[in-house]
């Protein structure tokens, strides 16, 4: 399950998608909208997300393949939400199922870090005073969409 959707994310559905008889561990991660901004003292009340799906979906498939190559065998599901989200809503969910917990944790961390650095998704914070700001993730290497370095185990 790899998807970009405007619908609310069902984390349980991702967990079910990665659960196999070979799995001894499932790690589930949810990124949620919070009220504080790393770069602005004002209170955040909503975040708007937009994606370029024609690029972001292939990027998701590449990131899933790279995660499997580095930490597999494992199953991975990733869903990123778009549209306007309120506080506490899930903006991204990742589930990784692996034979042992170490690979599941490591694979999940690699996937979320790579997604934050690369995925063609943008967010705009909406503050309590009605103002807005586009918020970029910290750049990695040559730039946000540059090729990633090989993951390390």
């Amino acid at each position: 399950m790899l998807d970009i959707t405007s619908e609310p994310i069902d984390l349980d559905a991702l967990v079910r998608a990665v659960r196999t008889d070979a799995c001894g561990a499932v790690v589930a991660f949810a990124g949620v909208v919070r009220e504080t901004s790393p770069e602005d003292p004002r209170r955040v009340v909503r975040i708007r997300y937009e994606a370029y799906s024609a690029l972001a979906l292939p990027q998701m498939r590449e990131i899933a393949a790279a995660t499997r190559a580095a930490f597999g065998p494992l199953e991975i599901a990733i869903v990123h939400r778009t549209g306007e989200l309120g506080l506490g809503e899930t903006s991204i969910a990742i589930a990784v199922g692996a034979p042992h917990r170490g690979r599941a944790f490591d694979g999940c961390e690699y996937a979320i870090d790579t997604i934050k650095a690369r995925l063609a998704v943008w967010k705009q914070e909406v503050f309590a005073d009605g103002e807005t700001a586009w918020r970029a993730n910290a750049p990695v290497g040559n730039g946000a969409l540059a090729d990633e370095a090989a993951p390390s185990r």
Binding site: Y52, A54, L55, I115, L119, A136, N137, P139, G143
Partner: protein, 81 residues
């Protein structure tokens, strides 16, 4: 020739459109398209340095030549999750 330009996030706001068909000279590059769209943000500016491009769904650099009917996406620094 004509290409379809997609602009996202802050670049959409700066350009005033999310999608538009743009006439450019035959053999133009991505850099040439950018120069036409953003004459005030040429090489050396922070805006140009932070912008990436995709042609028909694949990330490309500024020297890439465009063809009639291409879809070119202008990508500001990403901010997902």
């Amino acid at each position: 020739m004509r290409v379809r330009v997609l602009a996202f996030a802050r670049l959409r706001e700066l350009l005033g459109f999310g999608q538009e068909d743009v006439e450019i000279g035959a053999g133009a590059t991505v850099d040439g398209l950018w120069a036409q769209l953003m004459p005030d943000a040429q090489p050396g500016t922070a805006l140009r340095a932070s912008t990436r491009f995709a042609r028909n769904g694949t990330v490309v650099d500024g020297t890439t030549r465009l063809n009639d009917g291409d879809e070119v996406a202008l990508l500001p620094p990403v901010g997902g999750c």
